[in-house]
């Protein structure tokens, strides 16, 4: 109960509780039945609610289906490629798959072919030729996690409409997977220095992709960096799989609540420049058709998704949380937003709507080698002005490429963050990792154009092209410091 005084001392201090719904318990749509659910203070009956969910889902997805975007009113829907859905086994993606199946893949009866004799509406014609459900298993990287691939496969096969594409997180470090999805041939064996911002060759000491993945995750300096790097790996695995299945669309089950969490947590981690991509994204891989990343549930809160899943008897396998995920910025933001949704349900929608109006002031200068989102001009200069990453300023090492110049600000901050708590304990097999061996990088980073074209053996990189953009940071000794500020110092005698 809300309070506006000291309830212990004043009996009138307690305010009456504000009801969670406006007006009456009657459904606002049909005005005939009693309501079953309250969505952002509005009451709906079960039938009207289920219809509303479908409408909201289609309203987001349909304008983006045809290759040429021409607004919400379209005569026919035909995608230029196949469809890939990212499946995590969680609530959002389970609801997404159900809505996609019911709206676009299940054969409807002859009664659904409405329209006149001369203008039949071809509702039975498929919008996408084929549908793929792609699942990325992360359990091998963390102790105590269960492999859920079999459970997810059972759910996908139950629909008998989609092809199941199981992936593992370690595929991101597997050259054979890279070949399968049609990636450019790998010419180098790049890794990065633990805690540093340079890349160098020689990561062949790791025998299997899983070893490489574990080494990569163990090298993350903070829990937040660990979780965001897992998310980035999953996202890129899905994108490359979508490309390999000739998909024009990749659908993700991000609900309004999850989107607000991702937006706030992304901005908090330095990803503000890519805030638009968090909502809607068109991913251009080299020489291939663009993949549109769409989040069709982004107008539905978690509560709506839960009610849809419950009233449609959907089985939600559930994601096993990554150990020690509680300590990251992402989890703390999640707790905050979920609490907000309970107390002030409209505020969560305000976060998403406000963020969708944001746009970066400057144009992007390139694409991040790691997360493949746009990079901002001058991010490196900003970083070097505000922080000392290393006391030494020498450039003696050979075979070095500046990784920093190829990464976006968010990825660079993740790589170079400092925290007294090591993430090693939450990753399997960390004992094998020694700090002198370069940490492997995902396969797509190695084939990224900036990595291919960077000059070797110079310690320089693409950043040298913008020469003036770099600011030298070094540690001064006390004499040098005194010399700099000497004229401002007062004499001891005064």
């Amino acid at each position: 109960m809300a309070s506006c005084g000291n309830p212990a001392a004043e009996s009138d201090a307690l305010m009456t509780r504000r009801p969670k719904f406006d007006h009456s318990k009657e459904c606002v749509k049909c005005k005939a039945r009693n309501g079953n659910i309250v969505i952002r203070h509005v009451v709906y009956c079960r039938e009207c609610f289920l219809r509303l969910v479908k409408v909201k889902f289609r309203k987001i997805l349909q304008p983006s289906i045809n290759e040429k975007l021409d607004g919400p009113r379209q005569k026919s829907l035909k995608a230029s490629g196949n469809l890939t859905m990212g499946l995590s086994g969680g609530l959002g993606s389970t609801v997404l798959m159900d809505l996609v199946a019911k709206s676009y893949f299940m054969r409807s009866g002859p009664d659904d072919n409405k329209g006149g004799k001369d203008h039949p509406r071809k509702l039975n014609e498929k919008v996408w030729k084929a549908g793929y459900a792609c699942y990325v298993e992360v359990s091998n990287a963390f102790p105590g996690m269960r492999d859920s691939t079999a459970d997810i496969r059972a759910i996908v096969e139950n629909y008998n409409l989609f092809e199941f594409v199981p992936l593992k997180l370690e595929d991101a470090f597997d050259p054979s997977w890279w070949n399968r999805v049609g990636g450019d041939p790998l010419q180098s064996d790049l890794g990065f220095e633990p805690g540093g911002e340079n890349a160098q060759e020689g990561t062949t000491t790791y025998a299997t992709p899983l070893d490489r993945l574990r080494a990569y995750l163990s090298a993350m300096p903070t829990q937040t960096a660990l979780l965001s790097s897992v998310q980035a790996l999953v996202r890129l695995l899905l994108l490359y799989s979508a490309r390999s299945t000739q998909s024009s669309h990749l659908l993700l089950g991000t609900s309004l609540t999850s989107l607000s969490i991702n937006l706030i947590s992304g901005i908090a981690q330095g990803g503000g420049f890519a805030v638009r991509e968090e909502v809607d994204e068109e991913w251009h891989a080299s020489a291939a058709k663009a993949v549109r990343v769409i989040r069709p549930l982004r107008d539905l809160t978690m509560k709506e998704c839960t009610a849809w899943a419950w009233w449609n008897n959907l089985t939600v396998v559930g994601e096993t949380p990554i150990p020690s995920a509680k300590q990251g910025i992402g989890s703390l933001t999640k707790d905050f937003i979920i609490g907000l949704e309970t107390d002030y349900p409209s505020t969560v929608s305000t976060i998403a709507r406000t963020s969708s109006k944001l746009a970066p002031k400057e144009k992007a200068t390139g694409v991040c080698a790691l997360c493949q989102r746009p990079t901002q001009f001058g991010a490196q200069q900003w970083k070097s002005q505000i922080s000392i990453l290393s006391y030494s300023n020498h450039k003696e090492n050979t075979n070095r490429i500046s990784l920093a110049s190829s990464l976006c600000y968010a990825c660079l901050s993740s790589f170079t963050g400092r925290n007294s708590r090591s993430v090693n304990r939450s990753v399997k097999g960390h004992d094998d990792i020694t700090s002198c061996i370069p940490i492997p990088l995902p396969v797509w980073v190695q084939s990224h154009s900036s990595m291919q074209s960077a000059p070797r053996g110079t310690g320089g990189s693409l950043i040298d092209h913008v020469g003036a953009d770099i600011v030298e940071v070094k540690k001064m000794n006390r004499e040098e410091m005194k010399e700099q500020i000497g004229s401002y110092l007062l004499d001891d005698d005064l």
Partner: protein, 136 residues
Amino acid sequence: MASSVSLKIEFGGGLELLFANQRSYELTLPRFVPISNSTSVSSVPSPNLNDTGTESAMSDDDAIPDGLKRVDVTYLLHHLRDHLLKERPELFMDKETVRPGILVLINDTDWELEGEGEYELKAGDELVFISTLHGG
């Protein structure tokens, strides 16, 4: 009216994992319970305490004994936490209510329409607790 209330409880969305992985329970609670929501055996009146043996012996207008209230959802939450929950109570309750992110349906209707924790339970009520936080 009988001195006890029998209910059907169901858990979904992964919440059943906290309750011995059992999705469905049938419960009988006393009609009157302590205002403090204490569920210890000594403070809870036995279902037979006020039972006169006939349904008609008591009505809704019966005086509520001192220190007691009609059994409501808040009491049920305490009962579930104290007697059926097997692990991590912080994932089920927060202060005096369910943790944010748990959807409660009373007879297939959102509990926000029924007064949330203040809803007085009736015999035969079906309550569903679904976690919305089971991944995304």
